[in-house]
Structures are given as C-alpha cells and as structure tokens.
C-alpha cells in the first residue's frame, strides 16, 4: 500500500512536472526564481511601497527611555536564548531601552497571544515578536498598534499590516547562494551532488531547492545534480536515505546537501560511518550544536544558517529607530549599530544580510 501511494505521488509529481515547467532539480517548486549574482553584489531591491502597519497616535518617543518586551515563539530553547541575548546586547548598547524577554514555554499560539495581550495592558512602548502563526497573531498585534505601541517582528512574520517592520533573517535566494557556493568551494567546482530534503512539497525546502538549481545553473554549471531524496524530518530515515545515496552513486557522488536541521547531521553521520569523510562533502542547513561533532572532526566544513544573536540585535535596533522616528515608511535602509546599514526589502522587511556560515573557527562560540 505504501509503495503504491509512493508510486502515485511520484507519478503525480512527474505529471505536474511536465505540465508546469518545474524546477530543474526534483524537489524544487515551480515559482519563479531569482538567483543572486555570482559575486557578492547585493541584489537590487525591487521597489515596493510600504505595506506595514502604522501605530495610532504614538507618543513622541525620540531619544526617550522606552520599555520593550520581546515575545518569541517560545522561551527556554537555545535558538531564542540567542535572539534574546542579541536583544539584550542592543538594549545595553543603546542605553535608553529597558528590554525583557517573556513568552510561553511551548510554541503555542494561544499562550503567545495572551502574553502579548497582557503586555499591551501593562503599557509597554514597543513589542518584538516571532510569530507562531502569521494570521492568528495579527488581531492582537493590531490591537497593540491601535494603542500606539511600536511593533517589530523577527524570525517569523505576521501579516504585514499587523506590524510595522519585520527583520527577515535570510531570503531564499541568499540561503541558496550560500549553500551552493560552499558546496562548490568544497568539491572544487565540479562533480555530482545529491539532496536530502524533508518532502518535495514542504514549502521552504521546495523554494530553496528551486533557487539552488537556478543559482547553480548560473554560477556553477559544472555541479551535476544527481538526485533529490525525501526523508521527512526523520533522523533514521535521513540517515538511511543518505547511506543509499552513497552506495548508489559511489565515486560519482561528491557532495550531499542537507535541507533540514535533521537531514544535515544525519547525512554527516552517514558519510562518517561510510568512511567517506573528505571525499564526500556535506553542506546544509542546521543548528551549530547538532553539527559540532562533525565540524570539529573535520568531516563537515560549512553549516549554513543565520546568526540568531545578530537577528535579535537587528530587531532591537530597528525598533529603536522606529520609536525615534528615524525609520519611516519608504526608507531604503536602516542603521543597525555594529551591523551597519541593513537593506529594506519587500516593502516593509529589513534583510539581516547574507546567511551566516558556521565553520571550525567560529562554531564553538554558538550554543543553540
């Protein structure tokens, strides 16, 4: 039965593939791609009018001391501890912000909404959030805007009109460029590569793969794509799928992309157990803690993600600029302290910058 379903899915995938001119690589989606340039030139920002919200009768907060609350998806995990540290760092550097992080202990939409609601009543000046659900959080954020509170999101967006700005940690084409560039550097610019993803229909992964295919075709045409395999987000299945790839393609396989934080460490483990460290490169999205053993052994050279400390730092800096009135709708960039000028994209989003590549030299500094 399972095989039959799988066959049906594959069959359907092939049919839709021929009909819709899907990505050159299996597992990508059929949305238009926008590969970045091969060198480090930033993409020109497409002009799009400001689509964020505006607080009602916000008092003049320019230069005044403000209280800010940060409500992440949940508290007590390494990732949001890191963003919270970034926020605290920025607040300390600014000196006129009283910031604290508070939130639910589970990624629960209802609890997060209740937390924000209570902080609106308690009368904060600014709210930072990472939404558990973009739509569910919107009514309470709109309520905050109506009370004149400055609202800035990071990590996970809400609907645009429910907040003023959103600090976007990475664009799809930026992640794709980092992954493909790292892989090309490790395999010497040519050779066969395979992908371990979650499922062909997972939105983020499908978008990344489509962008990777477009970027590789443009900048690293000698990278030869072999196969994309699905491994849900299952540790065991990811390991098995990666092992199958290694056995199936033998010496033709020069590198494996891991598209999820589960697939990447599992692929690294598969390569380690096959004694292929050094001859098969593993590059992927993952959190540093999961990858430390492989990076320290030298089996994996680059892990791509963004730096969550910088993300929190940028969010706090943006909120301060909004409160001061220095960041207005229509701006094209914003000053964010030590991070320099950050670019405004998509109307009301601020791009953190190129993704962060963790390697042997810097991975020890991160704990999430």
């Amino acid at each position: 039965m399972k095989k039959l379903t799988l066959a049906a899915i594959v069959g359907f995938g092939l049919m839709s593939g021929s009909a819709l001119a899907a990505s050159a690589w299996t597992g990508g989606d059929d949305q238009p791609t926008n590969p970045l340039s091969c060198d480090a030139t930033p993409a020109a920002a497409a002009a799009k009018p400001y689509d964020g919200g505006v607080p009602t009768n916000a008092p003049d907060r320019n230069g005044k001391k403000i209280t800010v609350v940060d409500v992440p998806k949940l508290i007590g995990i390494g990732y949001f501890n890191a963003t919270s540290k970034g926020i605290a760092d920025a607040a300390a550097e600014l000196g006129n912000v009283d910031a604290k992080t508070d939130g639910p202990t589970k990624a629960n939409i209802d609890e997060q909404i209740t937390f924000i609601d209570n902080y609106i009543t308690s009368g904060v000046d600014g709210i930072l959030f990472a939404a558990n659900d973009p739509v569910a959080i919107a009514p309470v954020l709109k309520k905050a805007l109506e009370k004149g509170i400055n609202v800035v999101g990071y990590d996970a967006n809400s609907t645009p009109d429910a907040r003023q700005w959103f600090v976007n940690q990475a664009e799809f084409n930026g992640i794709a460029k980092s992954l493909v560039d790292s892989m090309a550097a490790e395999v010497g610019g040519e050779g066969g590569v395979a992908i371990v993803t979650s499922t062909f229909t997972t939105p983020n992964q499908a978008r990344w793969i489509a962008e990777m295919a477009a970027y590789a075709e443009k900048c690293h045409p000698k990278l030869k794509w072999l196969e994309t395999v699905e491994a849900q987000e299952d540790n065991n299945l990811s390991f098995n799928q990666a092992t199958t790839l290694i056995n199936k393609y033998g010496d033709d396989l020069k590198g494996i992309f891991g598209m999820t934080s589960v697939a990447t460490p599992a692929s690294a483990e598969a390569v380690t157990q096959a004694n292929k460290c050094g001859s098969i490169a593993v590059v992927g999205l993952a959190t540093p803690n999961a990858m430390k053993p492989y990076v320290e052994k030298g089996c994996v050279k680059s892990v791509v993600l963004w730096n969550p400390v910088d993300l929190g730092y940028a969010a706090m800096m943006v909120l301060r600029s909004v409160a001061d009135g220095t960041l207005q709708p229509g701006a094209t960039s914003v000053k964010a302290g030590k991070l320099g000028d950050l670019q405004v994209i998509n109307g009301s989003e601020i791009l953190l910058g190129a993704p962060y590549v963790f390697n042997k030299d810097n991975i020890g500094q991160f704990d999430f």
């Binding site: 508070d102 639910p104 209802d110 609601d117 308690s122 659900d133 569910a136 919107a138």
Partner: protein, 314 residues
C-alpha cells in the same frame, strides 16, 4: 453530602479569590480596570466553557483528556467544510459542532459500553482526534474567514465581549442542571458510589453518555469561538487545554474521586487562575514565575481539600 461542608470550601475559595484580586490590584494600577477585566473574561471563555462540562465529568468520578483534541478537530473541520468543501460558513460551523459533539459521544460510548476507564478511553481519543485533525488538515492552516464571523470571538454586546455572555448563560444553565435537577443528583450519585446508584435505579450509562457528549459539545463551541478570536484554523489548536480545564475544576473544589463539586466552585477556580496569570504578568512577574505561583496555589487548595476529608473521616 452535606451542604455546609461544600459551602465551606467555596467560601474559602471566594475569600481567597477576593484577597488575590485585592493584592493584584494593589500591585498594578492597570489590573482592576473594566477594560482589562472584560478582556480577561474574553481570554478565559474557551477554557471556561469546557470546564463547566468537565465539572460534570469529574463529579461522576471520570475525566476527559480529549477536550483539547476535540477543540482542534472541530476547528479543522470547520475550516475544511468551509474552504475545501465550499459549504456556506454557517452550515460549516453547525456541521463542525455536530462532529465535535459526536466525538464526545464516542468517548461516552467507549466508556459506558466497553467499561473502559475514562482516563484510558480519553487518553486514546486525545491522540486519535489530534491525529485526525493533523491528517485532515495536512498541517495547513485555513484563513480568510469573512468579517462577520469574527463577531463570535472579537465582538461585543453592550460593551461586554460576546463569548462572556455565552459563558454567563452556560454557567447559569449548567449550575441549574447540576444543582437543582434529578439529572444533577444522578451525577453526584454516580460519583459517590456508582454501584449503589445503579441499584437505586439511576440510569448510569445514559447519564454518563449525556455528560461526555456535552463535553464534546462545549469543546466544539469553544473551538468556534477560538477560531473566530484568532481568525485562523490550525491543527495544533487547543493542545494542552485539558490541563488548564482540569486545573480550574479541581481548584474549584471538585473532588477528582467524584461525588463532590459545584459550578460556582469551578467558576471561582477559573477566575482565580485567570486573575493570577494576568495580574502577575501586569505587575512584572515573568511567565515562568506565574506558573510556579499557580502550581503552589493548586497544591494549597488540594491540601485544604484533604483537611476537609480528614475531618469528615475522623
């Protein structure tokens, strides 16, 4: 069952609630404002509705762990009926509520027909209904409901949130049923001694079936309000709801062994928890600190209850 003893627990709880309100009001000037209190009423309506039915369940000596999953399943069905099957929204709401009620009926059927302990039966359906919700929705949200639908979760009548009216009416109805009708007396009798109740000619199974069905109905109603309040449908809605509900009911003096408990007690328990959560947050206590306080209050209430039990036994 002595009325005086029941009254004593509720009197203590009422005094405790008033003290808590007074202390919290003195800790933050933003706490005891009509706006905040009404808003808190809005936030507690979903838990409150389910807690009323749960009071009946626990008074019979049972438990229903699946209420959060029924909420999630109803929410998903509402979205799927409306968006994927293209039914008009009122019909989708009605049909989803019927399905949620049916899910409650299944709980009752398994418990009464196959004599499965309620803890086991509803632990199983907790997983079953949540799994169905996730499978049916394929982990996708349904959004874009029309503006009028948001009235249930965000609208007001005479300045009071809609769901608070609904909760008020439900409190009166359930209070009357549990306190003043033969059905209510049957509920207590089952909890006090099921075998004796059976031999007294009380229709134990049909009473239980009604009660678990009502729990399904209340969870389904809460789901509609929840979806309307947050304007979207997700399969993880209501996760952990059962614990908030049971906490409120038990704090309200309902004995987990059955036979004892009142609607007024449950309402007081709910108010006390919601006041603590909100008041502590407003006076600057972080979320983790608030959970600790609620845990301590619950232990305190159980100790008080145990004290009464000892008095009765001695």
């Amino acid at each position: 069952m002595t009325a005086a003893r029941l009254l004593r627990h509720e009197t203590i709880l009422a005094v405790l609630t008033i003290i808590a309100l007074a202390v919290l009001a003195s800790m933050s000037d933003k706490f005891f404002t009509p706006e905040n209190l009404l808003n808190q009423g809005r936030l507690m309506a979903e838990v409150g509705l389910v807690a009323l039915a749960m009071t009946f369940v626990i008074v019979t000596g049972g438990i229903d762990l699946s209420v959060g999953s029924i909420l999630g399943l109803t929410a998903i069905l509402l979205g799927v009926f409306w968006k994927n099957l293209g039914l008009p929204l009122p019909a989708a709401i009605l049909l989803a509520v019927i399905c949620g009620t049916f899910a409650g009926w299944i709980n009752g059927f398994i418990i009464t027909r196959f004599n499965v302990p309620p803890l086991i039966a509803t632990l199983a359906t907790l997983a079953l209904y949540r799994g169905l919700a996730e499978g049916i929705s394929e982990a996708r949200s349904v959004r874009g409901y029309p503006e009028w639908f948001f009235f249930f979760g965000q609208g007001e009548i005479l300045g009071v949130p809609f769901q608070l009216w609904l909760l008020g009416i439900a409190v009166v109805i359930s209070g009357v049923i549990l306190g003043l009708t033969p059905f209510g007396r049957a509920t207590y009798a089952i909890g006090a001694n099921e075998t004796a109740a059976r031999f007294s000619g009380i229709r134990v199974n049909s009473t239980k079936l009604w009660i678990y069905t009502a729990a399904g109905f209340c969870s389904a109603l809460a789901a509609v309000i929840f979806v309307s309040r947050v304007t979207t449908t997700r399969s993880d809605m209501g996760t952990g709801l059962e614990l908030d509900v049971i906490t409120g009911v038990v704090l309200g003096g309902t004995s987990i062994f059955g036979g004892r408990g009142t609607i007024i007690g449950t309402v007081l328990g709910l108010v006390l928890i919601q006041a603590l959560k909100n008041g502590l947050a407003l006076s600057g206590v972080k979320g983790d600190g608030t959970i600790v306080v609620i845990g301590l209050v619950l232990i305190g209430a159980i100790l008080v209850g145990a004290l009464f039990d000892r008095n009765r036994g001695g």
